[in-house]
Amino acid sequence: MKLKDLFDLFRGPGRSTGSAARAKERLQVILAVERPLTRGQPDFLPLLQREILEVIRKYVPIDERRIKIEVEREADMSLLAVSIELPHATLSRAL
């Protein structure tokens, strides 16, 4: 028996250098990254975008390149912003 083994023999289990703590820490980090993508995932967004555009297109011509859809995710809320630029002529006619 080596001296180190003798030393280990009298060490309490609390001081063991197990890898479980590292496992827990790694899991917590990766899940914090993955959860926003896998839980409550906004896979309805493409469909929502298409339907909103179809509704608007029924009334006014819109340029696909003048559309911006953004989602901002924060700890306690998410913000969905849809911005559609309408041609000037359309608006003045409506008013």
Binding site: D8, T17, A20, A23, K24, L31, E34, R35, R39, G40
Partner: protein
């Protein structure tokens, strides 16, 4: 009222089928008429683990697609009163599972059984999806190991978003954690995630902790649910889980290593 429970995990090899067999058998031992369905189409194993592999004539897929009646495919366990097995097909693939077909079989089983246990395949594809879609409750089987916990977390997300209850906006599925292959010695040495760590990460209530036990392998070798070896610690832990499932309050056992003699301790430390 009849309850449909899915036994699922995401990751393979964590003990889904063993647990579905043990919990199904345990419910039947408690006087609840129970049917366990194998959803792992093409890789059937529930029949083997429950020791009825030589009695399979028709299966779940035949009932869905080939006009075979449910009672022709159900296998009655000869050891436990009120326990039935619905095996799956070994030759077809998961595309043979249709949502309408699965729904029809589950609805018919609910007429006659107290509990319908759906043994899910690993993964998150069609078989696993079908197994969880109609469930009222989920037992998420996890080992104290990183990949298994990560996959369990993924499955929890799917249960909350892709089940029929979620789609219909009904009250969410009740979810239970079943931690299996829990090695008490390695947990004590800090080498394995402990129950508290897994609970903190997954944040669902604990149904049971099944300690690592040789009896599990021996029972599967012999084709019997482990609860039929009632002296084993795994059987006792599974029966505790069954009682919790039935609403009883049962304190957790087998989560710390048994006390050993000083000589044992000394031998173990110097090993």
């Amino acid at each position: 009222m009849s309850q449909v429970i899915v036994v699922t995990s995401g990751k393979g090899g964590v003990g889904k089928t063993t647990s579905a067999a043990a919990i199904g058998a345990g419910l039947a031992l408690k006087g609840k008429k129970t049917c366990v369905i194998d959803f792992d189409v093409g890789l059937r194993n529930l029949d083997l683990v429950m020791g009825v592999e030589r009695r399979v004539v028709f299966d779940f897929i035949n009932v869905i697609n080939d006009g075979i009646r449910l009672h022709q495919a159900l296998i009655k366990d000869k050891r436990i009163e009120g326990l039935y097995i619905l095996p799956t097909s070994q030759t077809r693939d998961k595309d043979a599972l249709t949502r309408e077909g699965v729904e029809r079989v589950i609805e018919e089983l609910k007429q006659d059984f107290d509990y319908v246990i759906c043994d899910s395949p690993a993964g998150i594809e069609k078989g696993a999806f079908m197994a969880l879609y109609f469930a009222d409750e989920a037992i998420v089987v996890t080992n104290p190991e990183v990949s298994s916990v990560r996959d369990a977390d993924r499955i929890l997300g799917i249960l909350n978003s892709k089940s029929r209850r979620a789609e219909r906006g009904e009250p969410p599925m009740k979810q239970h954690l079943l931690l299996t292959r829990y090695d008490l010695e390695r947990v004590a040495r800090g080498e394995m995630l402990k129950l508290e760590d897994v609970v903190e990460i997954l944040a669902i209530p604990v149904l049971g902790v099944i300690p690592e036990d040789d009896a599990v392998l021996q029972c599967s070798n012999n084709g019997m649910p482990v609860v039929l070896e009632p002296k084993s610690i795994a059987a006792q832990a599974y029966m505790d889980a069954v009682r919790r499932l039935l609403g009883e309050t049962v304190e957790l056992r087998f989560t710390t290593p048994p006390k050993k003699s000083f000589v044992n301790w000394l031998l173990r430390r110097s090993a």
